[in-house]
């Protein structure tokens, strides 16, 4: 190793200092606050131990519903975005499709729109009386499918997750297309000579070689899903009632009530859950690489 080419360690000190002051320290302080009774009404802060955590896990059933909703939202949107994104990516790399880049652009475009805009547009499109969706369904005679998309308890969460998938699938598609392009055509050629059909090629060549990309996409989707806020806030504001509330809408609610400690408790729980999950996802990726 040419030691002269290495820069001395203190070259990183500036970046480290900034990272420590602006990212690490506030995070740690936030977690510490979750062990107190910090609130808007007094300046005194008392240590209360695990009281807030116990309250979340054992107290009001709402909190557990929010936790469950967050997990459900993350799981379903991750699967839907990956499946739909993969399908679209496969479709838009086929030779038979014309104007591929145009199609890709159209499918990707929701990604660049703000969550609030998407939420408000869909809110008006899904209005049972005046919304585009129901009016369209009624005009083609499919009245039975015209529903109260955002107020019917049975379907509201599915609606929210579908809108979120619609917005997010384009991004995953683009990531997967990049992965597909990097797979050498030689493999497919060899498989063709062996007489492999589309599914065999997909299962035995495309999927294994896409694995690292899919794992990365999953990490992106999972971290997004756990932190989701804007989409739900603008579409349903957690309603009807608290049916679509997630951890971050609850954090917002607690902060606005002045109960800061509970807000930081909820976001700390989110932080630990994410840390654990992402750790395992990355670990599983490492193992796969060793196997290969």
């Amino acid at each position: 190793m040419d030691r002269k080419k290495l820069y001395p360690w203190y070259f990183t000190s500036g970046a480290l200092l900034i990272f420590f002051l602006l990212c690490f320290l506030p995070g740690i302080i936030g977690i510490l606050y979750s062990f107190t009774d910090w609130n808007n009404f007094t300046d005194k802060i008392n240590f209360v131990g695990f009281k807030n955590y116990v309250e979340v896990l054992k107290g009001k059933p709402e909190y557990r519903a929010y936790l469950w909703n967050t997990v459900l939202f993350t799981t379903v949107t991750t699967i839907m975005k990956t499946v739909v994104g993969l399908a679209l990516a496969l479709l838009l790399t086929q030779k038979v499709i014309k104007l591929k880049n145009f199609h890709r652009m159209v499918i990707f475009s929701p990604q660049v729109m703000s969550y609030l805009v998407v939420g408000l547009v869909f809110k008006s499109m899904l209005h049972p009386d005046t919304g585009f969706v129901n009016n369209f369904l009624k005009s083609v005679g499919l009245d039975i499918f015209a529903m109260n998309w955002l107020t019917d308890l049975k379907i509201v969460f599915a609606t929210v997750m579908s809108v979120d998938t619609w917005k997010g699938m384009g991004y995953i598609m683009v990531v997967i297309i990049a992965g597909l392009m990097s797979i050498s055509p030689d493999y497919y050629e060899a498989a063709n000579i062996d007489g492999a059909n589309f599914w065999q090629k997909f299962r035995l060549i495309t999927l294994p070689l896409l694995k690292p990309i899919i794992i990365n996409a999953t990490i992106l989707n999972v971290t997004y899903g756990f932190r989701v806020f804007d989409m739900i806030y603008s579409l349903t504001n957690g309603g009807p009632g608290n049916a679509t509330g997630v951890i971050n809408t609850a954090v917002y609610k607690e902060f606005s009530k002045g109960n800061y400690a509970m807000g930081t408790t909820l976001s700390s729980i989110l932080f630990f859950a994410l840390l654990l999950l992402v750790y395992f996802i990355i670990k599983s990726m490492e193992n796969k690489e060793v196997d290969a």
């Binding site: 009404f41 049972p128 308890l153 009632g241 917002y252 606005s256 009530k257 109960n259």
Partner: protein, 444 residues
């Protein structure tokens, strides 16, 4: 050569980063000094004014006044309007994070000012302004905290009625209901005729809660000294069986389809259209709301709309709310002096008159020097009613959870909460807030 270039670049980077840090530290003082310079030299100042939809009259009269103010003083006002359902939370988050606008509008009442805007910490004390003396004495408690006045407010006292379409009632031979049984009967007949009996919109989050707490006058009649006992934690809300009755009645009416099919997706703003076009027969609103209908639908004869007291829980008294929304100056804002000038401007008698004239939905101002707009008929009806203060203005920890109760009712309508659970949730939230605020009556 290449080494040199790299060295040069890295030195440059480190210097820039170090410089950036220093700039970051010193930025505050330098920017404020340049700000004060710019204001003193009379350069154009833009005040930000944050409000919820219902904080500013829909007629845009405040914006018109602001334009006039701009042409007189050169100070521009930038209005930032947020949805009703989000404003309370948003404002608090903005105040706490130091990002609040220069002037902000908030609902103000004697009990909740401190939880809503924390005046000592965030709001400019205006006690010694000349115009404070000209406001109605009865509204001052709503905008004061610990004997200091913090805001300016305009609307007179609020009273909510059922505004109803007389034509529809006459056609079906119906009489104004005076108790719940009659009300249900009326609703059923209207529903059978193909019209939505009651327009309800839960999307705004606050409107559906009115029947619970605007009926406070009746609660007080039936339970003497109720508010005092509730505030001292001697009794809880379950000591008022009428409240539970009203919550159950709301659910019953929803189940009977009296609000129509889509009330969970509807907004209060669309009520005017529904009433003017005869799609709905009744709507909870203030009496002067009819003038707003007229200004939006000039062809509609508003004399067709009458008012009657909400008959929930056989109520026949009218709740009076001395509180309303008020404007406050952000004490930590950059343009405190300019904001004060705007308040002086709004408080001029000619501008007060302009405001009352320019806001069709308003019957009176809380400035005694300006004459009210009530018609003789309305005035006579209102005078004939027994009155009392609404619950949210007299009982602690109700108004702060108003929007949450709206969500509870939504949950009740969708079937995920029972009426009993709604009441329990309201009671628990009161307890939680009281404990959080270290209220001595709850922490004995």
């Amino acid at each position: 050569m290449r080494k040199r270039l790299i060295k040069l670049l890295s030195t440059l980077c480190v210097t820039m980063m170090a410089g950036g840090l220093l700039v970051g530290c010193g930025g505050n003082s330098s920017s404020t000094s340049s700000d004060s310079k710019s204001t003193s030299s009379g350069e154009k100042v833009t005040l930000t004014f944050g409000s919820h939809q219902s904080g500013l009259p829909t007629s845009g009269v405040v914006q018109e006044l602001a334009k006039q103010f701009e042409s007189e003083t050169g100070i521009k006002i930038d209005f930032q309007i947020s949805p009703d359902a989000q404003w309370r939370d948003l404002l608090k988050v903005k105040l706490d994070s130091g990002e609040a606008p220069d002037i902000f509008c908030a609902d103000a009442d004697p009990l909740n000012l401190v939880t809503r805007v924390n005046p000592e910490k965030y709001v400019l004390d205006v006690t010694n302004e000349e115009w404070v003396k000209r406001m109605d004495k009865n509204v001052l408690p709503s905008i004061s905290y610990k004997d200091k006045v913090y805001g300016i407010t305009f609307p007179g006292k609020k009273m909510y009625f059922y505004v109803y379409n007389k034509e529809i009632f006459d056609k079906l031979g119906l009489k104004v209901p005076t108790n719940y049984a009659e009300f249900k009967n009326v609703c059923q007949k209207i529903k059978d005729s193909g019209v939505i009996p009651v327009y309800e919109g839960t999307q705004n989050g606050w409107h559906q809660v009115l029947p619970l707490f605007e009926t406070g006058a009746m609660y007080q009649q039936k339970h003497p000294d109720l508010y005092n006992k509730l505030n001292k934690n001697e009794v809880d809300l379950d000591a008022v069986p009428e409240l539970q009755t009203i919550i159950s009645e709301l659910k019953e009416c929803a189940d009977l389809g009296f609000y129509g099919d889509n009330y969970l997706s509807n907004s209060v703003e669309n009520a005017k259209e529904a009433m003017a076009k005869g799609k709905a027969a009744m709507f909870i609103a203030e009496s002067a709301w009819r003038n707003e209908v007229k200004s939006d639908f000039p062809d509609f004869d508003v004399n067709k709309l009458g008012i009657f007291v909400m008959p929930w829980g056989d109520n026949q008294a009218i709740g009076v709310n001395p509180a309303s929304n008020a404007y406050f100056i952000n004490k930590n804002g950059k343009h405190v002096e300019e904001a004060k000038k705007f308040f002086d401007f709004l408080a001029k008698p000619e501008n007060l008159q302009k405001r009352l004239d320019g806001q069709p939905g308003l019957s009176e101002l809380c400035w005694p020097e300006i004459k009210s707009k009530y018609s003789k008929e309305d005035q006579a009806y209102i005078d004939s009613l027994q009155k009392g203060m609404v619950v949210q203005a007299g009982v602690k920890y109700i108004d702060s959870q108003w929007m949450d109760v709206g969500k509870d009712l939504e949950a009740m309508y969708t079937g995920s909460l029972t009426p009993q659970q709604v009441l329990e949730t309201i009671m628990n939230r009161r307890k939680e807030q009281a404990q959080l605020q270290k209220d001595p009556d709850w922490n004995k």
